[in-house]
């Protein structure tokens, strides 16, 4: 049996960072990355943004150049699927029957799109957006497309809408909740993005549940039917209704899984030789005192660094404050922290303009800030939250007040 040193399952942001960080932390044994993807790890965030809008080319997507992996003896096994993990004998079995031995194992299995389960879901013209191939397939289908419907008014749906509008396509977004981004932002931010998209020519429909993708005899989608009987013509549909973590392998291996593979602040599972990092891992969050699975690149990178240190026998607990961003048209949204559990918001700036920030509090404590084209507020918010600084809410709306005073 081949001894593969540290085996990393998965081939995206967390896997790429973990492999590199292992070498930086002094890992001497082989590193083997097993990925079902056909290419080396690439940046996912541009897929719905610059890459789809044809501002970023595929060659700019690679997270690290091939030469770096070669120089550092990081062995990629691409287009390979792991079928089983045996933690007792420390072995991984591939779908092709090959058996590999590991000394340490990392789950960076990520997440996959949540598929819509309605009549017509398998029709021609129904697309999802997660992998590079998804976007390449979408781009090919765009030629000649007249009417695009996007199901889901979350970040992926809205970024995709913005990119497609910039390419000149007709776009309708259908969201089931009463407002866009309802799960993640305050009403002021939802309203802002609705206005932004409508001003750019996107039709936004909220509080409509999609019931069926109606198809022609050829099997191609022709319209989207909603539960209230309303219909929207469509020759191309993009579904963006969230992702699901890939937990099956870890579950089958007997590792504890909740919303994600359960790990501690050192990215360790209950098995001392197994770590997990990225979208698939659920971990204790500093600053918020809760177990959380995050879907973000900064989180994947930070957790991967923590995991690499752990595997090299060092102790570097996860200490990062979660943050997120989204680019749509000329607007940059930056989010510092997590707002779950907020009971009050304070708006700094004029929410009818393109520059304001929304500050989320639980009682007196600042939880998170959404910054619309306010990068300075974002930078300061990150520092204020992570340093748990006291905030006088009444001063926030005074734009002449310098937030740095609180640091």
């Amino acid at each position: 049996m081949t001894h593969c040193g540290c085996i990393i399952i998965g081939g995206s942001h967390a896997a790429a960072q973990l492999a590199v960080s292992l070498r930086q932390e002094g890992w001497q044994e082989p590193i083997t990355v097993i990925s079902d993807a056909s290419s080396l790890p690439y940046q996912r965030p541009p897929l719905s943004k610059g890459f789809l809008a044809q501002k970023v080319t595929a060659d700019k997507l690679l997270i690290r150049p091939p030469a770096l992996y070669e120089t550092n003896q990081i062995d990629f096994r691409l287009q390979q699927v792991v079928s089983a993990v045996d933690p007792v004998n420390k072995q991984v079995t591939l779908a092709n029957g090959e058996c590999l031995a590991y000394s340490k194992l990392a789950f960076c299995t990520g997440a996959r799109v949540r598929r819509i389960e309605i009549c017509g879901a398998d029709a021609k013209g129904i697309h999802y957006l997660r992998d590079l191939q998804d976007v390449v397939g979408l781009q090919q289908a765009l030629t000649g497309s007249q009417q695009i419907v996007i199901v889901g008014g979350g970040y992926i749906g809205l970024e995709t809408a913005a990119s497609l509008r910039q390419l000149g396509h007709s776009v309708t977004v259908i969201e089931a909740a009463p407002r866009l981004l309802q799960r993640v932002t305050a009403p002021a931010v939802s309203e802002y993005f609705q206005r932004l998209h409508e001003a750019n020519g996107v039709t936004i429909v909220t509080q409509k549940q999609v019931a069926e993708f109606v198809t022609a005899e050829s099997g191609v989608v022709t319209q989207v039917l909603c539960t209230d009987g309303s219909t929207y013509p469509a020759d191309l549909v993009i579904v963006g209704i969230g992702v699901r973590p890939n937990l099956e392998l870890a579950q089958a291996a007997g590792l504890e899984c909740a919303d994600g593979i359960v790990v501690d602040e050192y990215a360790r599972t209950a098995d001392p030789d197994i770590v997990a990092a990225g979208d698939c891992a659920q971990h204790p969050l500093p600053y918020y005192d809760q177990l959380k699975r995050l879907e973000s690149v900064p989180n994947a990178m930070e957790q991967a660094k923590v995991a690499a240190a752990t595997l090299c026998g060092k102790s570097k607990p996860y200490q990062a404050l979660p943050w997120f961003w989204s680019d749509q048209y000329q607007t940059k949204l930056q989010i510092a922290g997590l707002n779950s559990g907020y009971d009050k918001t304070v708006i700094r700036g004029d929410q009818t303009t393109h520059n304001f920030s929304v500050w989320y509090f639980h009682e007196q404590r600042l939880l998170a800030v959404d910054c619309i084209n306010q990068p300075k507020d974002f930078m300061l918010a990150k520092a204020l939250i992570s340093q748990n600084k006291a905030i006088d809410q009444s001063q926030l709306s005074d734009l002449d007040f310098d937030l740095k005073t609180w640091l």
Binding site: V20, R23, Q24, Q43, P45, P46, K49, G50, I63, R64, P65, A67, L68, N72, V297, P298, M301, W323, W325, D327, K332, Q334, N373, P375, K376, F378, M379, L380, A383, K404
Partner: protein, 106 residues
């Protein structure tokens, strides 16, 4: 290929050949040079690729403006020669460029 010199907060210097058209940030990542985190992958969203540009090269790299300038106004220890390295696209004239990386990015 232009040679870019990356200096860490302790004064250690690392050199890398960076192709024209790449960013100074990518040059660091492609060569496993620490001190440039690049959490957002280079889209001017995180300010974790902050560098201080050698004064001699400032006329070539130019100053920060717009979104980048605002981000830099709130980083730790901003200076007149602060730039986000994801926004510096390498040209032939930058051969020999020396950038220092702040301690906060280690």
């Amino acid at each position: 290929m232009p040679l870019i010199k990356y200096v860490d907060h302790s004064g250690n210097e690392f050199e890398a050949d960076v192709a024209v058209g790449k960013t100074v940030m990518e040059g660091a990542l492609d060569n496993m040079i620490d001190g440039i985190l690049a959490e957002c992958g280079g889209c001017c969203s995180c300010a974790t690729c902050h560098v201080y540009v050698d004064d001699a090269y400032l006329p070539i790299t130019g100053p920060a403006d717009g979104m980048e300038k605002e981000m830099l106004s709130a980083v730790n220890d901003p200076k007149a020669n602060s730039r986000l390295s994801c926004q510096i696209v390498v040209t032939e004239e930058m051969d020999g460029l020396r950038v220092e990386m702040p301690e906060s990015q280690y």
